[in-house]
Amino acid sequence: MAELRCPMCGKPNSDELEKCASCGARLKPLVASSPEDHPPIHPGEEPVKGKTTEFERIPPVSGEKETIQPGEEPTKKDTAELESALPSWLRDLRGQEGQPPPAETAKPVADEGLPPASEPESSPQLSDVKLPDWLAGLDSGAEEEGEIPEWLASIRDQSPIQPGTPAEEEPFLQSEETDWLGRLRQEEEGKPAQPAGGVPPFSPGSKPAAAPPPEGLPAWFPDLKGESAPAKREPGLLPPDETKPSEELPGWLADIHAEPDKGLAAAPAEGGPEPVEELPEWLEKLQAESKTPTRELPNVEVPFEESPDWLAKLQASAFTEEKTPAPSIAPEAEVSTEKAAPESMPPAETPDWLGKLPASAHTEQERPAVSAFIPETPTPSFIPETEAPVKAIPDWLAEFEEGAIPAEVPTPAAPEKTALPAGESESNLPMETPDWLSMLKPERGEEKAPGGAAEKPEIAPAELPTWVQAMRPVEAVVDESEVPQEEEKEETTARGPLAGLSGVLPIGPGLGALRKPQTYSTKLQMTEGQQRHAASLERLVASESEPRPLSGQVRLRSARLLRWVIAFALILVVGLPVVTGIHTVPGAVYPSELSATRDLINGLGANSPVLLVFDYEPALSGELEAAAAPVIDHLLFKGPRLAILSTSPTGPILAEHFMKTTQASHGYQSGQGYVNLGYLAGGPAGVLGFAEDPPATAAYTIEGAPAWQTLPLQGIQKLSDFAAVIILTDNADTGRIWIEQAGPYLSTSPMIMVISAQAEPMIRPYYDSQQVKGLVTGLAGGKAYEQANDQAFQGVGLARRYWDAFSVGLFLAVMMILVGGSWSAIAIWGARRRTVRAASNGGTPVRDGKQVEGA
């Protein structure tokens, strides 16, 4: 099975397929449609849209590439094969004339892709114009098919076309739609030929008049004109080869027909066809100016998507493809070209029909399509010889220009710098457009354009059809593929390692522009509040390490002095009554327990064994001796046998001292009147042991003699054998031990206790519970006991002597405590007042020049 290569994507497809399996392009050219399929278009009517894809049928020659790559030379094609790519209406025209439709028609819009036209070496002659491949097919096709409309044929007749070709086009021209053309011809015959305002669509094989192209036109544009038959033709309709004698075409149309041939001429037209005399002057001028060598346009099949009423429609369709301005060089170039359009293009006359075209139909966005054919202000490099100004333009084109085209075409913000050299920029305009064409305003597009179109100088670049793109010169293709000349791109090329170089590959997405990395400050950013907090924390930390001032040692002096004062006062007050014997305390108090003690002692019989326990410390001997003296003295008056015992190491010594100092009058001798059993070790255990078995526990006297065989202890075997037990102690615990340990073993023997005043609270409950039968407490008890036995005492007893001193001393102490306490209370109150005042004032209280702490 044979394979067909898709003309669009180049992928092989089966021969049986009509459309490409990959891209959907038609693989086989469409058969020329009948007029029923494609009804003729009358003037003023909207052309029937036909898909230009149906014309993309011409398969590439085997072995050749399907598409033209940038930089490649377009390959020559037999344009007869391209007839299938012609729009239906064109084919219809040709069919009406009996001629095959033109194989290919050039799209009038967008010339960016058109290759730069080479300088024509001489004014092209229509006869000598060599048609490009895509237009050449029209001639051959026209010759073969003979389906040239009348109007086209008439155009051809007017232009110097190759023989054979005009006849083919004529039938096409002479269709019903040519009535208006005929009228135009009549009108134009009386007017000088003026270039049309619109962009004439290129028609394959059409050879425009050899008029010099205006400045800025691409090189190929004059070539197209030169190549094509210098016969007038309908723009974009007829190949120059098929142009009929121009006598039937209006001048302008013949000129138009001649113009594109110049650009389409692939080879420099050597001695191009002489301009037809019947061509309008402007067109002839354009042809003359177009001396740039032409080059063969790439054989690119370009779908034709629009039909005339056609100029506007073609433009509109081209504009609609580009609704938004793309950041590309091409649109900017178009913009620049557009901007330069009014400057470079000399005023040219435009046909009335073109002038009547509403200017609003075209927007600024569509102007790029128009401007594609408008050269920039600088002289295009590819048209070096096209400096010849356009001497004259047809009136009709000039009128059109004045009426339709504003003097100044608002253009979007042109790049500050033309990144591309003049030559490069010129490459975007490979084709010279006639003045009338450049003056055309976009009629349609304002509806589509945003409201601020006037304010937006940016014009959306037109999207060229593929066949037009194929005709573009290599430079234009290269330029299009470049990164738009934005500021960043300009900066990149302006700075950096590749500064000044052009054609630098753009930075890929995501990388961004080369620039110095952002420096971040290492300084800590803090708010005011944070700074305050940090400062406070710093102060707190610093204050922790600061040594605190120590308070003065004032209290030591005052404390020592106070002690001395207290001591001196007490000594004086207490010593005076003792020394002088002054009695200052009247009266006496007899406690209730006093009588019970007296009764118990009075109840003892003579020579009764009594146990005396001396369990007090030497430090309290003064009080105990004073308290116990009258009691023991009262006891000794009964003549008992005494046994002395002590659980304190110093007790036996104290007992001896007591007996010798306070009881000396009684004449009791150790071993005779009393037995000193010594120290009883073991504390409570010892007491308990003694209570259980006295002879076993305290076997010996303090002298070391057996105690229980002596006279005072005869007949004593147990604790209950004693008539009474008298405990002398200053310690409540000792008293409790005796009460608790020995009490159960006394049976009926009473226990009498002479205690210090400090032990009274602990011992009194035992008296109250009758575990202790008699109780004498401290100095007061002794003094009372003495007074109770005044009759027994001779003289003043020890307690009596101490009593006055005790009372006075006690009173002095009370006074001092009162005074001192009041002084302290006042000092505290003052300190607190100062603290409160300082706190209210926000300061630290100060006293005597020093800060008060803890107040």
């Binding site: 020592r560 430090a619 504390g683 409570p684 615990d733 602990m762």
Partner: protein, 247 residues
Amino acid sequence: MNWVGLAGFGLVILSAILMAGLAFLRRNSTPVFREITAFARLRKAIGLSVEEGSRLHISLGRGGLTTPQSAAELAGVEVLRRIAELTSASDRPPVATSGDGAVTILSQDALLASEQAAFSTGYDPAAARLTGLTPFSYAAGALPVIQDENVSANVLIGSFGVEVALLTDTAERGNTSTMAGSDNLSAQAILYASAQDPLIGEELYAAGAYLKARPFHTASLVVQDILRWLIVIVILVSAILKLAGVL
């Protein structure tokens, strides 16, 4: 055994059971005690003494182990041991004074054990001293220790009498802090007026728990609280019955 004895014996058994049970049940829990200022300042004083190179003076009183005051003495010995452990890294080890020979021997043993626990070889037998056999002689013998041996704080825990006033007065004149506790009422009254941080009542026996809480110490405090409430209830009931004429 009469009913009094029986009641006492039952109380002892009950206390033992409660203590053992609570110690076992709360062995993993963290005890929470009420704040006692004296122990808090004691910790601070221990730290300060170590930092400034001074020493602590622990006085155990004049009670004997064979007397009812032995409990207070044992509490003091426990405090001495704990303080010795905490100050084992100090340049100056603590010094312990007492008024009883047996307590002196226990003091020496406690200091020796603390040094061994700290793997230190700085044990000084003279650190535990018998300063006197009588209360005031003991107090008189302890005064030079407070005045002349760079003491920064005094811990008086044991059985003291009225002679404790001499110790507190001397400590105050030397500008040293005093934390004291005694089982003697007179001493407690004097300590309240003269010491910075007195321990009143049975706070003396809680010293071990506050310094280093262990399960049995914590349990003993709980048992004390339980028994105290029991006694309160018994007293109130007895008083009511007495008023009612039942008893």
